[in-house]
């Protein structure tokens, strides 16, 4: 699994001068961003810094204004979201976006869509191949739900799960897409400090047990400091600092733009 087709730079993801404008508003300003294989990196910045916008351009939800995104050596700039998922980018959403009226198991099965083959005729006739695939997919989905630390919730509707469990289910669903890169958009938003700690421990285990790289978005710097190998700080769509958590914490511009503001709040 860890044998990916690697781009020239040896990075899993290479974003070159990505720019995104909404009308007159410049949300992401010529951002260069890389993610090495199997790394945990974080993108932080105050609210409105362009983090989620950058995320959405990575995952194909927005079209870039200019720039280029290479993933595992493949140019995925402006490809539709499903193609980017297929290339190996899985994501969660800042405001949870599960399929509320589907069960936990079905949510995870939807995540597997791009990895399954069952066609229309095969499904209607119920060929042995489709049945087997379906059975195996269910088995695997159950495992993923366990892996995400959820109890026996397989047949519960997603909307009836507790908030923290919904967050975990979203991760399970993203893992079902078999990502090489997992994008977590403010995964601890709305969690209390204790839940946050437990969740971040889960993220660490995730990286140890699965061959993937993780990109975290956070506006709360404390959350990502312990876990990240590299932190990139955005403000007004521009990269203002990049480095290890320690380096970033000392950076004057970061303190001014970010921690300074947080301290007065």
């Amino acid at each position: 699994m860890s044998e990916h087709q690697v781009s020239g730079s040896g990075n899993l993801l290479d974003a070159e001068a990505v720019r995104k404008e909404f009308g007159g508003l410049l949300a992401v300003n010529d951002l260069d961003f890389t993610i090495p294989e199997r790394a945990i990196v974080s993108l932080i910045g105050p609210n409105g810094a362009g983090k989620t916008t950058f995320f959405n351009t990575l995952t194909g939800l927005y079209k870039t204004t200019s720039g280029r995104i290479l993933f595992a050596g493949e140019d995925v700039t402006d490809k539709p979201p499903h193609a980017i998922v297929k290339a190996g980018v899985g994501r969660t959403f800042q405001n949870i976006r599960l399929f509320p009226q589907m069960t936990a198991l079905e949510n995870v099965l939807v995540g597997m869509h791009s990895r399954l083959k069952g066609g229309i005729l095969g499904s209607i006739v119920g060929t042995p191949r489709v049945r087997r695939e379906e059975r195996e997919a269910r088995e695997k989905a159950r495992e993923l739900i366990r892996f995400a630390g959820l109890g026996s919730v397989d047949d519960e509707l997603a909307e009836s799960l507790a908030y923290g469990d919904q967050r975990r289910l979203e991760v399970a669903r993203a893992l079902a897409t078999e990502p090489k890169l997992l994008l977590l958009d403010e995964p601890t938003a709305g969690m209390n400090p204790q839940e946050t700690v437990t969740f971040m421990e889960f993220v660490s285990t995730l990286r140890e047990q699965r061959p993937l790289a993780i990109l975290l978005i956070e506006h709360d710097m404390k959350v990502v400091m312990g876990i990240s190998e590299r932190v990139t700080v955005l403000d007004y769509g521009e990269k203002i600092a990049e480095g290890t958590p320690q380096e970033v914490q000392k950076d004057e511009r970061v303190i001014e733009a970010y921690l300074g503001r947080a301290a007065t709040a």
Partner: protein, 443 residues
């Protein structure tokens, strides 16, 4: 707010439980609940199926002076009812599963009917092509293909039509899609009305329509070998044959739709209905998946259209009103969007009302009460009232889709109840709570 609703519902459930336990019905209910779920769902199905299959055998001995409804539908009406049911089940794929509001489904009906007209009638006098056709003379001009093949071809042609309509329109969401499909539903009948002179070529025979259209049948060889009817129209109990055939077609439709719902594709449809953006971000190709919903919905609509054209032996533009699209949509909404059995029940009821129910009820009212008005004239007003009442008291439909029923029973609502389409207005928390009140809670 959700918490409060949950508690009051829990106490309501407790109260109902006490009432129920004091009756003998409760014991029957308990025994019923102990049956395996599969048996529980199959028993009503086979009971209804038996009633339906044997219907032609006992319909003549049914009483003809029933209060309110007067008569039970005769064979001819029953065929029409089932054809509309088949269309409603097809539309359910588009609206109920995939959440695409289609106000122009009649276009598929028309396309299916005209394909039958083109492939199984004397419309094209320029050519003479026979293939497996029954009940026509050997020198009849025009294209005459076996109706069984025509049904399949019409379904495929219509599915292609669905793809053709879908590709440009399915990029739109919600209301915009509804408006565009509305347009297509109007364009198709207009087109067939005016396509009797395309640079001198008569494609649709204008307002007169195409007729006669060949009848289904099995031909002389199968007749002699196993006694199957040569041609339905030539049999004296033709309507019975048409009835059994459409019943079989409906069962096939239902079977396919259930299998698809539980497949990878069906999950993708429901995911799109639930949250299109998230579905895309989970690897579902939105355009392709939605187009498939359209094509499959159209497939069954086309087959049903071709069948009814063969049954009535005619396809003409006046059959394809905008009303029909709305009428079919009513069936889906009334039955419970996404719920096959709900849609079947609602479709049977509504098309019966349409075919003869309202007229019967009207004449019963006029002769047994001081009222004097033609109920059938107010049919759309009546459907409107039915829909409004449904939305007020049972917004999830007659037989809610499994997942929605569970939602009502559990009475839980997470933070995820933001509606995506206007069509899902039935899901609003307030309405849902009232619906739960009118529903019989389990246990």
């Amino acid at each position: 707010m959700a918490g409060r609703g949950q508690r009051s519902r829990a106490s309501l459930r407790g109260y109902r439980g006490q009432v129920a336990s004091s009756t003998g019905l409760h014991r029957v209910g308990a025994a019923w609940n102990q049956l395996p779920e599969r048996t529980r769902s199959l028993i009503p199905f086979f009971a209804l199926l038996t009633i339906a299959v044997t219907y032609p055998l006992y319909v003549d001995s049914l009483p003809t002076n029933v209060p309110v409804i007067l008569t039970f539908p005769d064979m001819h009406s029953a065929v029409t009812i089932l054809v509309f049911t088949m269309m409603a089940v097809g539309l359910n794929v588009v609206v109920g599963y995939c959440g695409l509001l289609d106000l122009g489904y009649v276009a598929f009906y028309a396309l299916g009917a005209y394909t039958a007209g083109w492939l199984a009638s004397g419309q094209f006098q320029q050519v003479k092509f026979h293939f497996g056709s029954v009940g026509i003379t050997h020198d009849a001009r025009g294209i005459h293909i076996s109706i069984w093949l025509v049904l399949l071809s019409a379904a495929i042609v219509t599915a292609l039509g669905g793809i053709f309509i879908g590709l440009p329109t399915l990029r739109l969401r919600g209301d915009y899609l509804a408006i565009v499909t509305l347009g297509f539903g109007e364009i198709v009948p207009q087109f067939v009305r005016n396509a009797d002179n395309l640079h001198g070529f008569d494609l649709t025979h204008g307002t007169f329509g195409i007729n006669p259209i060949d009848s289904p049948g099995f031909g002389n060889r199968l007749h002699n070998a196993v006694g199957l009817p040569v041609s339905y129209q030539q049999e004296f109990d033709a309507d019975r044959l048409f009835f059994w055939t459409v019943l079989a077609l409906l069962l096939v439709t239902i079977f396919c739709c259930i299998r698809l719902r539980d497949s990878r594709l069906g999950r993708a449809w429901i995911a799109i209905r639930e949250d299109e953006t998230a579905a895309g971000a989970m690897g579902i190709p939105l355009m392709r998946t939605k187009t498939w919903a359209y094509a499959i919905g159209a497939f069954f609509g086309g087959a049903a259209g071709a069948y009814i054209a063969s049954f009535n032996s005619v396809a003409n533009p006046s059959q394809f009103n905008f009303n029909i699209s709305i009428f079919l949509l009513c069936m889906v909404v009334l039955g419970g969007m996404g719920s096959i059995w709900g849609v079947v029940v609602a479709a049977v009821i509504l098309s019966w009302l349409n075919v003869e129910g309202l007229a019967n009820i009207g004449s019963w009212l006029n002769s047994n009460t001081p009222l004097n008005f033609e109920v059938a004239k107010y049919q759309f007003g009546i459907y409107g009232v039915i829909l409004v009442l449904m939305m007020l008291f049972r917004p999830v439909g007659l037989i809610p889709e499994r997942r929605r029923k569970r939602e009502l029973e559990e009475g839980t609502r997470g933070p995820l109840d933001e509606p995506i389409y206007e069509m899902r207005g039935a899901d609003e928390p307030g309405a849902g709570e009232r619906g739960a009140g009118g529903n019989i809670p389990r246990g």
